[in-house]
Each structure stands twice: as C-alpha cells, then as structure tokens.
C-alpha cells in the first residue's frame, strides 16, 4: 500500500540505544586553507633549488638571478593583474550570455530549445585555443559607427574569445541545476497559478544559485588558468611579459626556471583558495540539499 517511510526530518526520539540516534555530523570547518607549513617548506625548496641551480651556472659578471627577478617582478605582477582582469570580464560576459542560453535550453518552444542546445554543445566541445583564434582573426580591429572609428583592441577580442567556452559551460551548469530540482517544486508553483516565468525567477532559480556556485567557481578557476592562452595571440599578459623579460635579459637560460616558477606561483596563490572555497561550499550544500 502506501509507503509510510519515517520522515527524515522528524525530531529525534529519546532512546536507550545509541545506534538509533541520528548520526551527528561534524560541524563544518569554516573556510580554511588545508596547506600546512610543510607545503610551504616544499615550495620554498623548489624556489631555492631552481634559483641556486641557475645561480651556479651564471657567470660572475652578470646580475644575480635575485636582482633580475626583483627588477622585473612589478612588471610581471602587473601582467598577472591583467590576466585577472581578462578572467573576470570573460566570466562576466560568459555568465550573462550563458545563463540566457541555459534558460533557452529548457524553453517550452522546440526551435529555441534545440538551437540553444546546439550552440551550447558546439562551443562546449571546441578547443579553447581555437575559439580564441577565431575571435582574434575574425573580429575586426576597429569599428566605424557614424563616422567615428572605435578601436577594438586584442585584449577585448581575447575576452570575447574566452567567454565563448565559458558561456557554453555556464549554459550547461544552469540547465543541469534547473533540472536537478525535484519536479514537485514546479507542480506546487503551477498549482498556485504562478506563470512559468514567475516560477523560474521566483522559485526555481533562487534555489539553483546554491547548486550552481561550486561548478561555476570551478569554471572560473579553469578560465583564469586558460587566460595565458592569450599570450599566443599577442596580448600583453603575464606569459607574454615573461617572454619579453627573457628576451630583455639576452635569453639567459638560467632565468627560465625562476621566471616561470614565479608565474606558476602567482597562479597557484590565486587559484588554490578558490579551489578550497569551492570544496567547502560543495560540502556545505551537500548536507543541506
């Protein structure tokens, strides 16, 4: 007959048997980095090793690696800030367009649903670098609107190129989150005479934000690391600048390791906390549902 399963949210009952009591979940640690001092020692050793290795092979008359690194560090940091700017803007554009595309994927009108599905699949399954090249070489370098010429610099084209795969991935995140909600939410809203649009914006999407946040942040991390692709198409971001620094120092091979270690270090310091925060949010939302 009827399933009369014991409601999971019923208040706990008093019992003598400890196994009958609900399992007490450990309170979640507030957001905390899991790196210990030992990891720091490891990173420091890598830096010292690469630097001293380089130093050992350096002729005495040229500047020491530390001097060179200190000289160029502000420039490299500036380049890295540019990477972050590109990542934030690409993410913003990709999220805005991707959300619309994701909602179009659950449209009740088949032409809209099918075409947005196709666009999503197309850009999701294309290599990021190829999309970047497309944006770079297919978009004009300037616009002329009503006699006024507006330049269209490379870095803006890079943002557009990178926002394409972001858009497609956000579209899938939105679609997945909406479909993951129990159908009872839709039915309850329908029976209360909400329109489909109201249901979506007032009831479904607010609940989805929580579910979408971890994959969205994960995507942002990946995007940030992918911004170095822009160096291939000549945008002056951190990798391009690292290459120029190397050229300015007459291509000293002993600089390769410290220079690129530093770039790696910058990305790690920026992306690792995001990754940790994502894990924290995932575990937090997994319990509350």
């Amino acid at each position: 007959m009827t399933q009369r399963s014991r409601s999971h949210d019923a208040p706990p009952k008093k019992t003598d048997m400890a196994v009958m009591l609900p399992v007490k979940r450990k309170a979640h640690d507030p957001f905390r980095l899991k790196l210990t001092p030992w990891h720091g020692v490891f990173l420091a050793l890598v830096c010292i090793f690469t630097t001293s290795y380089g130093y050992a092979t350096t002729a005495p008359e040229v500047d020491s690696i530390r001097t060179v690194m200190l000289r160029w560090m502000p420039l490299l940091l500036e380049g890295f800030l540019f990477n972050i700017l590109i990542s934030i803007l690409s993410m913003a554009v990709g999220t805005a367009v991707g959300t619309m595309l994701g909602l179009a994927q659950i449209s009740l009108m088949p032409p809209i649903r099918h075409s947005s599905w196709f666009v999503t699949q197309f850009f999701r399954n294309a290599p990021w670098l190829v999309l970047l090249f497309f944006a770079m070489y297919l978009l004009p370098f300037e616009f002329t609107i009503a006699g006024v010429t507006i330049p269209f610099p490379d870095w803006i084209k890079a943002i557009i190129g990178l926002s394409l795969p972001v858009m497609a991935n956000v579209s899938e995140i939105v679609r997945g989150a909406v479909l993951s909600l129990p159908s009872g939410q839709w039915e309850a809203a329908e029976s209360l005479a909400y329109t489909r649009r109201q249901t979506l914006w007032l009831i479904i999407l607010p609940q989805c934000v929580k579910r979408m946040l971890p994959p969205w942040m994960n995507l942002y991390s990946i995007l940030t690391m992918a911004t170095v692709l822009a160096s291939i198409v000549g945008v002056s971001e951190v990798m391009t600048l690292a290459g120029r620094v190397l050229a300015a120092e007459d291509g000293r091979t002993d600089l390769l390791a410290p220079l690129y270690s530093f770039v790696l270090f910058l990305f790690f310091v920026y992306c690792y906390p995001i990754a940790r925060w994502t894990v924290y949010l995932e575990s937090k939302f997994a319990v509350k549902g």
């Binding site: 009827t2 009369r4 409601s7 949210d9 039915e187 329908e190 209360l192 005479a193 909400y194 109201q198």
Partner: protein, 248 residues
C-alpha cells in the same frame, strides 16, 4: 461562466487518461457539489492521484470532460491560471519552497499571482498560520519544520489563494504515524467550515468521519460509491469488500 452553486461545482464526465500505452483512467464520472467532502480510496495504481491531478490540469486528459465551476479543463484554450486560482492543491511531499520561510511561502502567491496588497496578505497569512496551529513558526524555514508542520504550512499556503475547492493528494502518506493526526485535524476543521474538498487518502477512519461521499477506484474505474456509513458497512462489490477487509 454561467455556473450557479445549485449545479455541481465539479463535474467529471467519462474521463480517459493514458500514459503511453497504459490506460490509467478508463471512463470516470462523478459530481461534487459546493461544500461537499469527497474521499477517493483504492489500491495503489488505481488512478486516484491521476484523477485529482487532472482536475487542476497538472495532467491533461485524453477524452471526456471536467467542468470546474463551468470551466472546461479539457479545452486547449483553457486559461490554466484562472482554473488554478479556483482550485487549491496539497501534495504528498509538501513541496514547500525551501528558500522561503513559512510565512513567505504562504504570502508569496497572493502577492505575486493575485497582485494583492502586501499588508492585507500578511494579516491573512498570519491568521492562516495560526489556524493551522503553527503560531511562532512564521519565520522558520521548511527544513526546520517536521513533516506534519510542513504539510500544515502547505495547506495554509494553498488556502491563502482563497480557493473554492481543495484537492488533497495522499497528504498524510509520507508522515510519521504520530503526526498524521495533526494534519487530519486541520483538514477536518476545513471541511466543517464548508470548504469543498476532494481527498485521496488511505486513512479509512478519517474518510468515514469527514466524507459525504466515498468513492472506491480500481483499475481506472469507479467501482462503487456511497455515503460512508453504507459504504463501509455494506459494500456490495466484491473488490471493494476485499480491499476493505485488507485495510480495516
């Protein structure tokens, strides 16, 4: 809509409904007058839930007619929103909106759908929450309430839309035996106040107590119906008898 309350409020005629090749409803007909309380009982899979979901167009029907205060549900041009403003529904799984508090759950639809004044709605919502005996729980989120409490909020949420008829789809089936009672009391009070109610239920004792008419469905058909006294004491159809003997 030229409907007067002398006529049946809900008139179901020869309703057929299939999911794929499986015919769930094979020609069901019944009438509900204003203020009547109808209980539909029957074995699982006999089409009880489908039947009441068809009344507010959550499921469409393949054949037949359902008139709700003169509105034809089986009409492709039906204004579903108009229909659903007349018909309230409570589900087995409560389906409260988990990101809103109990009070917000009750207030949202009248404000957003009926475009009523927020202050008036709040007064009404608080009164409804008091009516379902949840005073003090206004600001609790659904996750913080027990199943029975959530179900009572769901009833209040539906009542806030001032429906003419309430549909209850096995609303106690997911509850603890101890909390079933508190939900049934709420429904009983509602019935006594004259609300037209259609209940799908497995609570035979409750059906006997509140129903004006009891319908027994089996394999997509209404096998037998009657006032509870005759229905439970002198069931004529052997299938009804067998079912009752298993349950009672």
């Amino acid at each position: 809509m030229s409907w007067s309350d002398k006529e049946p409020m809900i008139s179901v005629r020869n309703v057929h409904k299939s999911f794929g090749d499986f015919e769930v409803l094979k020609g069901v007909s019944f009438d509900v007058m204003k203020g009547e309380v109808i209980c539909i009982i029957g074995p699982s899979g006999s089409g009880k839930s489908t039947l009441i979901r068809c009344i507010n167009a959550l499921n469409d029907i393949n054949e037949g007619s359902i008139l709700v205060e003169g509105l034809e549900v089986n009409d492709p041009k039906l204004n579903k929103l108009e229909l659903r403003k007349k018909v309230g529904m409570v589900f087995q799984q409560y389906n409260l909106f988990p990101h809103k508090t109990a009070l917000e759950n009750v207030m949202m639809a009248p404000i957003r759908v009926l475009k009523e004044d927020k202050k008036e709605v709040e007064t009404r919502a608080r009164a409804l929450i008091k009516k379902v005996r949840l005073e003090g729980k206004e600001n609790a989120y659904p996750g913080e309430l027990s199943g029975g409490q959530q179900q009572r909020v769901a009833i209040a949420r539906s009542l806030a839309m001032k429906p003419d008829v309430m549909l209850f789809d096995e609303v106690t089936a997911a509850l603890d035996p101890e909390t079933v009672g508190e939900v049934l009391v709420t429904i009983k009070e509602l019935a006594e106040e004259g609300m037209t109610c259609i209940l799908v239920t497995h609570e035979m004792g409750f059906a006997r107590e509140v129903a004006d008419q009891v319908y027994f469905t089996d394999q997509g058909l209404i096998v037998e119906h009657g006032p509870p006294a005759t229905f439970f004491e002198n069931a004529k159809d052997p299938r009804t008898r067998q079912f009752l003997s298993q349950i009672l």
